[in-house]
Assembly symmetry: C2
Homo-oligomer: 389 residues x 2
Amino acid sequence: MSVTAPRGFVAGGVACGIKASGAADLSLVATEDGGAVAAAGVFTTNLAAAAPVQVSRRHLEMTGGRSAAVILNSGNANAATGAAGRADAERTCRETAERLGCATEAVLVCSTGLIGIPLPIDVLAAGIPAVLADRSPDGGSRAAAAIMTTDTFAKQTVVPGPGFAVGGMAKGAAMLAPDMATMLAVLTTDAVVEPALLRRALAGAVGRSFNELTVDGATSTNDTVVVLASGRSGTAAGEHELTEALWEACADLAGQMAADAEGATKVIRLRVTGAANAQDAAAGARKVAQSQLVKCSWYGQDPYWGRIVSELGSAGIAFDIDRVRVSYGGIVVCDGGIEARPADTMSLDAVMGRARIEIDADLGLGSGEASMLTADLTHAYIDENMTTS
Amino acid sequence: MSVTAPRGFVAGGVACGIKASGAADLSLVATEDGGAVAAAGVFTTNLAAAAPVQVSRRHLEMTGGRSAAVILNSGNANAATGAAGRADAERTCRETAERLGCATEAVLVCSTGLIGIPLPIDVLAAGIPAVLADRSPDGGSRAAAAIMTTDTFAKQTVVPGPGFAVGGMAKGAAMLAPDMATMLAVLTTDAVVEPALLRRALAGAVGRSFNELTVDGATSTNDTVVVLASGRSGTAAGEHELTEALWEACADLAGQMAADAEGATKVIRLRVTGAANAQDAAAGARKVAQSQLVKCSWYGQDPYWGRIVSELGSAGIAFDIDRVRVSYGGIVVCDGGIEARPADTMSLDAVMGRARIEIDADLGLGSGEASMLTADLTHAYIDENMTTS
């Protein structure tokens, strides 16, 4: 159970034939009765936004935030596909809407896969009746499986809120960076909520979860997070409660994505504190988290803090090397900008060997703080990405 | 011959014992008679600038651009070493100056190697008499060899100018990014030139060479390019002639660094044209050149242009996907933002198999142009950087 945990939703997932492997590649999340409910979305900031992103954005604008379904395909991004790609995304929504009995603009669409390859729209369209037939209150896991690309496991979450629930599914393993990691996520809730509040709550939740995640600094063309709120719990959600519940769901899914980052052997939680302000802290954390050199050190379990200090010094933020302190798993390795020999080298080795490492860099300048979730850079990442065929 | 090709210079290189391997690690470039001549420098923009960078910058300010020698060590960066590191860099200059018979501030100092490890200053100081004894008019190659770290070959150049000559040596293989690649370079010329003109010419030359080079997006703590002008040719250099000759030397050295980039199998010359302005072109070229995903594709010889378009779309520059054209070695693979099937796939395979690939991205918006020299991301890069021991 994932997106179907909150009351009022059905989901399904089938193989329609986009993927040559025959794996599931068409996914649907819809309201039980096909009626439109409060909805909100956050989309990629990439100016090469894919056709489904353009279409979903417009549909949400047209309805003022009322949607009945999200249809998603994996195996093709429908990005850099021009006017034909936009027509294909629109047709996907229309044929889904006709069978659900709702307006075309009440359907949102997401795609993930290779960029620049024309979407095999006839293949996809032929699968729409099948995924609609597959939809059921226990179909959340099938829907989550059908959006996987290089993911090695399906990402799902359920969060109990006060009087309502939040469910979610997501995919993402590379081309992952803040301002929307390369990822798709569909959240559902049975809270009673108006579209405007839902939008604010979603933005607040995404800012502290997916946007604090980077695998490789690449912001994809297809990033999308959408939420549908059925209202079926009968509980009106306050903004704070809803934001917290959505955040918990997003943070859980973001953590699953980091753990499944392509080729990664480690998840790193990097915290920058003591920055002149929050913007500096975020920019510094991002610079370190996206450094090829630093990520190689993590892979090699080498506590070489010199590269971290160097990245912070070139992050374009206020910085005074004489005030910097760096620690791995709480063990200080650099203090006042110079080497701090840890009392216990054995413990440091143990920290570096962990599958999850907490790294803190305090700049000693102010109260700005930020956090990033990231992964190491490994031979397997290169294997995965050196060819697309 | 490299830095000793222009008249009036001597150089030397010895093993003083900083490197455990026993390889050469102390290098000197000096005027023949130990007298100060016109000099200029360009240094890292990293706020974690190493002690030798801080000391050399101050020495050039104190003298108004008059130097007699540059002393360089490899095997230790003397970065993130605090006040002790600054005192060590100053002592290196002082002991060199005493033996050369010049003022301490007439000596510049450079270091390259690991960050955060105290400089073994007594070891280095004990080597100063040896490197001074080693200096000679044919010592350029020995000086170039003694600054190598992970470099697989010494980088040298000689450029004949109109009535004067330019010589140069450099090191750099990783932690290479614009606004000073992680690198050291010493240039010499026998042109007659005042410090102010030398400074402008150097800045002009570096902007179109080293600052157009990126291997891994990391701007090091130690980047330094210095030039000494002996005036011994008797030819007064015009600004244009001098800038061109220095640029030719810098471009040659930058090309050698790209070819020797850690683990690289390919050198990529990436050109962005048709940008709204030159700043956009440079930002777009840098974003693509620093993309892990794109660099993996190059390693795999995969002409997957979708990642290039996605990076351009998220570079924070003016961008319209419907106007983009991308080509590899002149073969157009994307036109109008969608796939352009090349007439001859065999030729495209041949282009991707080359050791040097020219990639062009035209944004179709204006006349902004920029160029970057970079390399692919390989298993060997990770091998090289996963541990420092």
